[in-house]
Amino acid sequence: MKRTLSRMQFINLGLLLLTLIFIITSGVSNAAVASADSQEIISQSHDGETGVISARESNVEWTANQQPWTKSRMLDAKPYPLPNVGGLPTTLSELPRPAGDPIFIPSTPPDNTSPAFQVENDFENLSGDSLFGYDYPAPFTRYENFDDYTVFPYSTVGVLFFKQNGTDYRCSAASIGNNALWTAGHCVHDGSGTVDGWSENVVFAPAYEDGNTPFGTWSFYDLVTRVAWFSGGDFRFDIGGVILELNASNQTVNDLVGSLGFAYNLNPNQHWFNIGYPVDSPFDGKSMQICAASFARNDPFYTSPIPMAMGCDMTPGSSGGPWIINFSGSPGNTNYINGNNSYRYTGLNEEIYSPYYSDAAKDLLGYLSPDTRLRTNILLPIIKK
C-alpha cells in the first residue's frame, strides 16, 4: 500500500481526501516502520482549487539510515543553478493592478510560541500608479552583511541544503513562521512534472556563516509548490515552501530565529532588501549577501502575474533568497517577504527576477500557515512530533 502510493500522483480532490484519510489513520505510527531506504516521498497531494501541490517525506526518523548533512557535505553542496533564460527583455511595461487587495502579514520575533498570523489591509501604499523603473543595468547596492547574522531579521535567512536527482544542492530560504520556510519553487521541485523531481533530504541552516550553523539545522517534513511550477517549470510560479520538523530540542525554527512577514498584491513599485547566499564566483557561499534596490522592470515575455526584476549581482546559490520590503531590525509591521530570487537572463548578470506575488502566492502561503483566513480550503493538518 505505502509503496504504491509513493509513486502515484494524485490529481484530483477525491484522491486528496483519500490521502488525508491515509495520513490521519496511519500517519505517526508509520514512524516506527524504519526502512533501510533513503528518505521517500510517501504522499503527494494536489489541491485543484488552490493550485498548490505538496509532497511529504516518510515519517522515518532522522536516523543512521539517513545520510547526515555534515559540515563538509554542506560545504561541498553545489549551488542550485540560477536558471538562465535565453533572449533579452527589452521593454518596460506597466504591471496590471492585481485583482486582490494589498495584504501585509507581520513579521515576528523569536519566541517560544507559534506566531499567530494576522491579515492586515490598512497599509498606506505610497506608490503611485505610474512607474518608470530602469532598463538594464538598474542601480543597486550589494554588500556582505557585516552585522551579527544571528540578529533579527538576518537570523531568519539561511541555506537550504537538499538532494535533487541525486545531486547535493543548496539554495537560500527564509523563516515565515509556523516552522515553515519560503524559497524558490525550483529548490523544492525540478519542474519536471514527476514525483521523482521532488527534492529530498532537505535541511535548513538559518544564519549559516563560514560553514557553521549557529542555530543548528532543521530537517523537512513537507514540501510544497504551485502546480504550474511542478508540471511545467513556469517561472511566474517559481515559489516553494518547506514545513520543517521540530529540532532535537522540540523547537520550531521560529522559536529561535523569528520569522519574516509576507506581502502580496502590492504595487510593484517597491524597494527591496534581497538577502541570499550566493556560491559561485566572486562569492563562496559562506556569507550572507544583501542587495538593496528598487523595482527595475517587468519581464515582457510573460503574462500576468508578470515576474519583476531588481538590480542585483548575486550568483547561483542565492535562489529562493527573500526580497524584503519595510526592512527593519524590529519585528512587527516590517520585513515583509514580497519576492524571491528565481532566474536571470543569460549575460545580464546584474539583475535578478522574482515571481510577482499575487493570490497565487497567498494560496501557497495558506498551505504553510494555520491561519484559516489565508486558506481557501483545509489541506493537510500540520503534524509535529
Binding site: Y134, P139, F273, S294, F327, G329
Partner: protein, 378 residues
C-alpha cells in the same frame, strides 16, 4: 601632520597674527571673534571656495562646551523649501568632467587617494531611468553598532547660527574633514567682490562640534571641534541649492585625527545618474528624535531641473529636519577595502513631497570642496 595638509596662504597667516593681537588687546573673546569675522573669512583663489577660522582656532583655545543637555536641546536645521513642486526630469545633463571615485578608508588607515578612470565606472547608460513621486525606498533605524565602520563615520553636527543652537548630520572624509550641507555651515548671506574676495562674511555657524556615531545623547568617540569651516561661493552669496555643500576641518582630539578613530568615506563625482544610495543621517523632527541613526536606501528618482544645471537629484526618503548634510553613499560596504563613496548630501525637500530628499549633484566643483577639506591639491 594634518596641519601640513592644509594650505595656509600668507594672507591667512597675516590675518591670524593680526587677530591674535586684537584678542590680546581686547581681552573680550566673543566680541573679538565677531569683530574679526570679516578678516577671518578667506577665499581659495584656485577653487573659489571660502573658508573661515573660528575664534577658538585663532586664539588656540576653546571657550565653549556642548553639554549633553545642550546637544539634546539643539534645534534640527530646517530642510523644507516653500515652492510647491519641483520641475522634474529623469534626464540629467551629462557632466563635462570624467567620473572619478576615491575609496573610503576604515579607522587607523591613512587615506590613500586613488582615482580611477572612466572606463572602470561607466556602464552602459540606461535609457529609461527613475521614478515618479513617490519613489520607492526603504528606511530603517540602524540596528547594528554605530561604532562599526562605515556607520562610525556619520555623526551629529552641533553649531549655532545667529545664536540659535542647531543640529545637522555630517560624515568623515579625508583625514580630519567632515562633509555636510552648506546651510549647516553658513547662512548664505555673504558677499563677494568680482574677484571672489570676501566683502561681507555674512553669518557663519559658530561653536561647531562633530559627534561621530552619536547615539541617544552619547558621543561614543567624543567630539571634535572646528579648526576651519568651508563653503561654496554659490551658497555663501546666494543660498544656491545646487551648491548646498560645506564642510569643516577639525582639530585633533586627544592627538588623533577623526579618520584615525572612525575611518572616512570615499568620494565619487561626475557619475551618471543610474545610482543607488544608502543615505545615513540623524533626523530630529517628528516622528524621529534626533538621537538615532536612520538609513534610507533608494535609487535616483529624478533631477530637479527648476534649479538649472547642475540639477539637484532626488531619492525617496522620509527623513526629517536634522538629516541635513547626511551622506548619500555609493557602494555601501562594511568591507575595509575601498567603497563607501560619498556622492550626495541631504539638502532640501519640497513641502508637498514629504517622502523624497534632494542633494546637490556632485560634479567637479564638489571635488574642489573635497580637496579644500582634505588637503588634496589635485
Amino acid at each position: 601632520m594634518k596641519r601640513n595638509l592644509i594650505r595656509i596662504s600668507s594672507v591667512i597667516v597675516g590675518i591670524l597674527l593680526l587677530t591674535v593681537i586684537v584678542f590680546a588687546l581686547s581681552g573680550d573673546y566673543s566680541i573679538a571673534a565677531l569683530d574679526n569675522q570679516a578678516v577671518a573669512a578667506t577665499t581659495d583663489q584656485e577653487s573659489g571656495n571660502i573658508s573661515y577660522r573660528p575664534a577658538e582656532t585663532l586664539s588656540g583655545s576653546s571657550t565653549h562646551t556642548w553639554t549633553r543637555e545642550m546637544m539634546l536641546a539643539a534645534q534640527p536645521y530646517p530642510l523644507e523649501i516653500t515652492a510647491n513642486e519641483p520641475a522634474v526630469s529623469v534626464e540629467l545633463a551629462k557632466p563635462s568632467g570624467t567620473p572619478m571615485i576615491i575609496p573610503g578608508s576604515p579607522p587607523e588607515v591613512e587615506q590613500e587617494i586613488i582615482t580611477r578612470s572612466e572606463e572602470t565606472l561607466t556602464s552602459s547608460q540606461a535609457t529609461l531611468t527613475g521614478y515618479n513621486y513617490p519613489p520607492p525606498f526603504a528606511r530603517y533605524q540602524n540596528f547594528d553598532s554605530y561604532q562599526v565602520y562605515p556607520y562610525s563615520t556619520v555623526g551629529a553636527l552641533f553649531f549655532k547660527q545667529g545664536g540659535v543652537p542647531y543640529f545637522c548630520s555630517a560624515a568623515s572624509i579625508g583625514n580630519s574633514g567632515i562633509w555636510t550641507a552648506g546651510h549647516c555651515i553658513h547662512k548664505g548671506d555673504g558677499e563677494l567682490d568680482s574677484g571672489g574676495n570676501v566683502i561681507d562674511p555674512g553669518t557663519w555657524s559658530t561653536e561647531v562640534v562633530f559627534a561621530p556615531a552619536y547615539q541617544n545623547g552619547i558621543a561614543p568617540f567624543g567630539v571634535w571641534s572646528a579648526y576651519e569651516l568651508w563653503i561654496t561661493p554659490e551658497w555663501f552669496t546666494s543660498e544656491d541649492l545646487r551648491y548646498d555643500m560645506g564642510g569643516v576641518i577639525l582639530n585633533l582630539n586627544g592627538g588623533f585625527t577623526l579618520s584615525q578613530i572612525v575611518g572616512a568615506l570615499g568620494f565619487a563625482y561626475n557619475m551618471d545618474h543610474s545610482l543607488h544610495w544608502m543615505n545615513i543621517a540623524y533626523p530630529s523632527a517628528q516622528p524621529f528624535n534626533g538621537t538615532t541613526q536612520q538609513i534610507c536606501a533608494g535609487s535616483f528618482a529624478y533631477a530637479d531641473t527648476s534649479m538649472g544645471n547642475p540639477s539637484p537629484v532626488a531619492m525617496g526618503c522620509d527623513m526629517t529636519r536634522g538629516s541635513s548634510g547626511g551622506p548619500w553613499i555609493l557602494d555601501f560596504s562594511g568591507s575595509s577595502s575601498s567603497q563607501n563613496y560619498l556622492n550626495g548630501n541631504n539638502s532640501y525637500r519640497y513641502g508637498s513631497h514629504p517622502v523624497e530628499l534632494y542633494s546637490p549633484y556632485f560634479d567637479s566643483d564638489a571635488k574642489t570642496l573635497w580637496d579644500d577639506l582634505t588637503g588634496t591639491t589635485n
